[in-house]
Structures are given as C-alpha cells and as structure tokens.
C-alpha cells in the first residue's frame, strides 16, 4: 500500500543508513584516538618486567595479530563487517582473550534492568507529578516544584555521592558495591538484587524525574489554556480525567520522543552512577574500553546503543500518528 511505499519503506531505509553511518563512525572513533591499544597492552603485559628491546618488538607484532589489527584500515573495516554479520564482535584487547560478546552479555542484563525501570518510572512519575503541578498551581505545588528545581541542577554524581555517604556510611544499610548472590530469579538473588540496586535506582530516578517534571509542568501549563481543556473543565469533568486525558495526553508528542530516545540509549549504560555504586553495567565497561582504546568493546557497546537508539527513533517516528492523530506520515 502507499503508506508502506511512501513512508514506511523510506523510513526503514533511513534506519539502515543511520545504523551503517553510526557504526562506521564508531569504527573510526577509537581509531582516531591517540591512545594506542598496542602500547596499552604492551604496558599491561610487561609492567615491571625488564624486556629486551627485541622482545618488545616481537611482542608488538604478536599483539597486532592477536587483536586482528593487521592490514589497512579499509581491510579492517570490511573484516569488521564480516565478523559483525556473523555475530562475532571479536576479542577484547584489554581483557584478551575474552570475547566481547561474553563481556557485553554479562553486563547487559544489569544495565537494561536498571535503566528500563528507572527510565520508565521516572518518565511516568515525572509526568504525573508535573501535570499535577501544572493543574493545581498553588503553595504545595510551588513547594514540590521548588524541591524538584533544587534537586535538578545538583550534578547526579553529587546526588549519588550523598546517597552513598548517607546510606552506606552514616546509616550503613546498603552494600557498597553490587552484590548479587544466588542463581538468577531465585529468592536470594532477587533479595540481593533489590538490595544492591536500590540506591542506584533511586539516584537515577530522582535525576530523571526532576527533568521530566519540569518538562511535564511546562507542557501541561500550556495545554491547560487550550479550548478543549477549558470546555471540558466547564463541563465539570473530574480533575483526574482532565489531567490524564485532556492535559497529559495532549502533551505526549515530545514526551514520547524523549522516552523513546532514552529507552534506546539504555544500552550505553550510565557511567557515573554505575561507578559510584559499583554496579556491574555496561557504563563502566565502556569507559574502561575507551581508556584502553579497546576497539572491539567500544564498538560492541556503541553498536548496541546505535541499533537501540536508531530503532527507538524509528518506533517513535512511526508512533507519532498514534500519539497525535493529526500528525500525518509524510
């Protein structure tokens, strides 16, 4: 049908282009970095050892072979696509001979679980509270808004740190790092999981929430003065209905966009929060990989987030007419 031809197929093509471009750029990024993975590995492998210069040269050759860095960049590029399409992301340099697939596989569930939850919850609660605030301007609202606006600019690592100090030091209730015991989905695992995830989740929630609150309040306030809301108010519709179906619902277009994009970027993890709370997610993995110019890990993780965000963007675009029926595919 024409919708398919006119909109969906080109959009899918765009999706493909975006992914290919994105991946190509991330193929180049670590390679443009001045940090040299071979040098890094040399340092790691021979720390405190005294090697003959000849041995150093020999080792360097060996590492190039191990890491698959022989050949020109173009050759490497095509080899990379070949491996990628075969589902193999290659070995990590920093953790050789560990496979990147395994490393990401290990960290991914933690990150995805944490971020999916906090992103969605922050989004929902933020919109609810923000819309409430738009709907009931007044003292209490100003207070809530005040708190949000005060929390919001505090850098999230400071918030994380305050939580850390408060609940692991002064009130030592939560563990210092993510401690997970038992097999997945056993009671013990779930208990330790919740125990370990609580603080990072709350931190992320708070920061995400206040942003969403501010957006929702701004959008809600604007929407309140629209004719349909005023008419429905006149008609004595209950507040809850007005807020949900007449105010919040009508502001969904940018909100859904944001939700989509942030869901997509879940795969890049959350760096500082993970680091502060010792949470075993992708963020830390990525950071270390960047520092070590661990090309394969960097590409593996960014690949996930590229596909994730591109897909989220695709879904978001396709969902616009559902979110606002006036929007037409064009």
């Amino acid at each position: 049908m024409t919708l398919l031809q006119q909109f969906i197929l080109p959009r899918l093509l765009q999706w493909v282009i975006v992914i290919v471009v994105g991946i190509t750029i991330t193929f180049l990024i670590p390679r443009l970095s001045p940090v040299n993975p071979i040098q890094q590995a040399l340092g790691r492998l021979t720390q405190f050892a005294t090697l003959e210069p000849e041995a150093v040269l020999q080792l360097r050759e060996q590492l190039m072979a191990n890491y698959g860095l022989e050949g020109s960049i173009v050759e490497q590029y095509f080899r990379f696509w070949g491996n990628l399409l075969g589902g193999d992301l290659g070995p990590s340099f920093g953790a050789f001979p560990q496979r990147v697939n395994d490393m990401i596989g290990r960290a991914l569930p933690y990150t995805v679980a944490l971020l999916t939850f906090t992103t969605i919850m922050g989004w929902i609660i933020g919109i609810i509270v923000g819309t409430l605030a738009a709907y009931y301007p007044g003292r209490l609202t100003n207070l809530v808004a005040g708190v949000m606006i005060v929390v919001y600019p505090v850098p999230y690592f400071i918030i994380a740190f305050i939580f850390l100090m408060a609940f692991t030091y002064y009130i030592p209730f939560f563990p210092l790092i993510g401690v997970f015991r038992g097999e997945p989905f056993e009671a013990e695992f779930i208990a330790t999981y919740l125990h370990s995830t609580f603080l990072p989740a709350v931190t992320l929630l708070i920061t995400g929430l206040s942003f969403r609150f501010i957006m929702a309040r701004a959008l809600g306030t604007a929407e309140l003065s629209s004719d349909h809301v005023q008419y429905a108010t006149m008609a004595g519709l209950p507040d809850r209905r007005l807020m949900t179906s007449y105010v919040a619902r009508n502001t969904m277009l940018p909100q859904v966009t944001d939700l989509g994009l942030s869901m997509g970027s879940i795969f890049s993890g959350t760096l500082i929060t993970e680091a502060v709370f010792g949470y075993p997610g992708l963020g830390d993995l990525l950071l270390q990989a960047i520092y070590q110019a661990d090309y394969n890990v960097v590409m593996g993780i960014t690949l996930l987030s590229i596909v994730g965000i591109a897909t989220a963007s695709l879904i978001v675009d396709l969902s616009y007419p559902l979110v606002d029926p006036r929007v037409r595919y064009r």
Binding site: Y231, A232, M234, A235, R249, N250, P325, R326
Partner: protein, 370 residues
C-alpha cells in the same frame, strides 16, 4: 408542562407565562473585560447593566450584531467568569427546584453538581472545543461518566443513539475530531452538551456550520428535548429565521445593552426599537437579488461606547436626549395579557407600528421625533 403540543406558538407562550417561574435571573449585570497589565489597559464593557429573567420551559432567543456582547452574556449567565472577564456589578441567580443558587459564586462542588446535569453550554466555535487527540467515543464517555454512573458501553450506546438523531453516522464515534466536517463537529458538541438532558441550556450560535436541512433537524430535536423535559433553552443566533421558528421570546442586544425584549411574534411584527427594526429588516429574502445594504454605520467599539443611548450615532431618530441620557429599559404599557413577561424597550423614541416590508430602504427618511 404537559407533553401535548400546543397548536400555535402564541398559545404555548401564554402557558409558559402563566405557570413558569424564572430559572435564571440577572439583575444589573455588568460583565466587563478588564485588561490592565503588560502595557495594555482596556476595559470592554461587553455586558453593561443588564437585567433579564428567563422562565422555565421557554426558548429564549438572543439576537444582536456581531460583537455586541451576546457570548459574554451567556458566559456571565453560566457563571464562567475567567479573567479578564470581570463581573463589575449585578447578580445572576438560578432557581431550579431547590432554592436559588448564585451563579456567579459557584464553588467547585456547585459547579460539579450543576454543570451538564442542570446547566449546560454550547460555546460559540463549538466545532473547536473537542479534544483533538481523543476519539469522539471517549469524549462522550468522559462527559457522561463525569455526571452519572455509567459503564463505557452504556455511555457509548447512549451517544450512538443520540448522534443518530442528530444525523451522524455511527462511525463518527470512532473518529478523531479532525476527521469530521465542521458541521459534524458542531453536532457532536451539541450532543455532548445536551445528552444528559440538562434543565437549562445555553447555546451560543450552535448551528453556524449546519446546512439548512440539518439545522432544522437539530433545532427540532432541541425543541423536542426542551418540550419533553420542560427545560429552558437560551439560544444565541444570528439567524432570525431560527428565532422566528424556534424561540418564545427574543432579546435584542446592542453594544452590551439589552435594548428590546418581547415575545417572538411581537419582535417580528411590532418591534419598537429602531435597532430591532433594522435588524429584522436587513434580512435578505430568497428570490430577491436587488442591492441590499446593512444597517448604516458600525456598532461602537465597546471599550469606548458613546454616551447616552449607545445606538444614537446610527439612529435616524436620535435627538439630544439620546445623546445625553441612557434610555431605561421599561415595559411597554398595554401589551400582553398582563401575566406574562412584559415587552420591554429601551428607547426614547419608540416606534409603535407594525413592521412593513421595505421599511429599511426608507430609514433615512424616518422622521426625527423632535
């Protein structure tokens, strides 16, 4: 009121007069738009010192030129006073069965109790007030469920039947507002406002986007509902044909003032205010293609209305007194049977003559009274 239909409008009117009590009473109502911030200072006296009473069970028409304050009056009567609209003076009271309610001081609870169950409102621009991202069906459910216990199925069923009476296909329920034509949207709003059979309906130009056939159908339906429930309809429309066909009484507004009020036939037969006479005479008639002119001059800007009678700059009969004094709205003696609401006119130079066709052409030649 008994369901039996009266044989003629005149008889019906008499019965209304005898039995009914006033559902809405406005006294000395002054509803002004006061803008005084951000570099703008303006007071628009959109409704100025207006007194009227609307009886239960009647259809009360309001006519007047564009911008003369009809919509403002309705908003004031509805008690929907949103800044910059300000009630500067006067009061509005409802009287349903249980004592008087001050319409201008409705609390949140009053509003919830009264709105849509007792008083409802079809705003001007009614094609524009539907939530663009909500299907008609859901909007109906919202409006119905807000005021009575109902399930989704029930309210949709109600809506479906009602919309059919308004000549809308069933599929409309599944549509979004922008998928409907202007007239269809307008009918949806009419349905939303009347589906709960309120006792008092304020309708502000409800049929502007309807073709004559549908307009007639819709109006008949409103009338039927009104009759059946003995509810009261306050109808603003420019279409004098609709006034003639539908209303029991007509009030004519000019520049925020009530200038004449009488039962429909009197308004059309023996209007006394020069402005009313103009208004009725300016109607084009089918089959007549000769050049027609509107009322000479333009209505005054309401932020700076003329002194005295506001119509005097355009009035062929105007004299000095008109320029200096505001004519009071007084009942006309000797008209009606004494029990019904009187014919009221605000003019120093009332014309007491039946309206002749073609009068307007000679307006300029109307004799000056002094």
């Amino acid at each position: 009121m008994s369901p039996e239909t009266a044989a003629s409008a005149g008889m019906e009117q008499a019965r209304v007069n005898e039995e009914a009590r006033n559902v809405v009473e406005a006294e000395g109502l002054k509803a002004w738009y006061i803008t005084q911030a951000y570099g703008v200072e303006r007071t628009v006296k959109a409704v100025d010192d207006l007194t009227l009473a609307i009886r239960e069970g009647e259809i009360y028409g309001i006519a007047g030129e564009s911008g003369c304050g009809k919509s403002t009056l309705l908003k004031a009567l509805l008690g929907e006073i949103v800044s910059p609209l300000t009630i500067v003076g006067g009061k509005v009271e409802y009287d349903f069965d249980a004592g008087k309610i001050d319409a201008l001081k409705q609390t949140e609870e009053d509003r919830e109790a009264i709105r849509w169950r007792r008083v409802s409102y079809i705003p001007q621009g009614s094609m524009h007030v539907l939530n663009p991202v909500r299907r008609i069906r859901d909007t109906f459910h919202d409006f119905i469920a807000a005021h009575q216990e109902t399930t989704r199925e029930q309210s949709i069923e109600m809506a479906r039947n009602y919309l059919q009476e308004l000549g809308l296909r069933e599929g409309v329920l599944g549509n979004y507002p922008h998928q409907l034509s202007g007239g269809m949207r307008q009918r949806v709003t009419i349905a939303l406002a009347t589906i709960l059979t309120p006792r008092l309906i304020f309708a502000d130009e409800p049929t502007t986007a309807l073709d004559v056939v549908v307009q007639r159908g819709v109006i008949e339906l409103l009338k039927e509902v009104q009759k059946r429930e003995n509810s009261t309809l306050v109808l603003v429309t420019h279409d004098m044909g609709v006034h003639a066909n539908l209303t029991n009484r007509v009030a004519v507004l000019y520049a925020g003032n009530l200038v004449e009020e009488a039962d429909t036939s009197t308004i059309f037969r023996r209007p006394r205010h020069p402005y009313t006479r103009y208004l009725i005479e300016s109607l084009p008639r089918m089959g007549d293609r000769s050049e027609r002119v509107g009322i000479p001059g333009r209505p005054p800007a309401l932020d700076n209305p003329p002194d005295g009678c506001r119509f005097h700059p355009r009035c062929p009969l105007a004299t000095d007194i008109c320029r200096q004094e505001v004519p009071p709205l007084l009942p006309v003696e000797g008209i009606g049977n004494g029990t019904g609401p009187p014919h009221r006119v605000a003019c120093f130079h009332q014309v007491d003559a039946p309206l002749e066709a073609g009068e307007i052409e000679h307006a300029a030649e109307m004799p000056h009274a002094d």
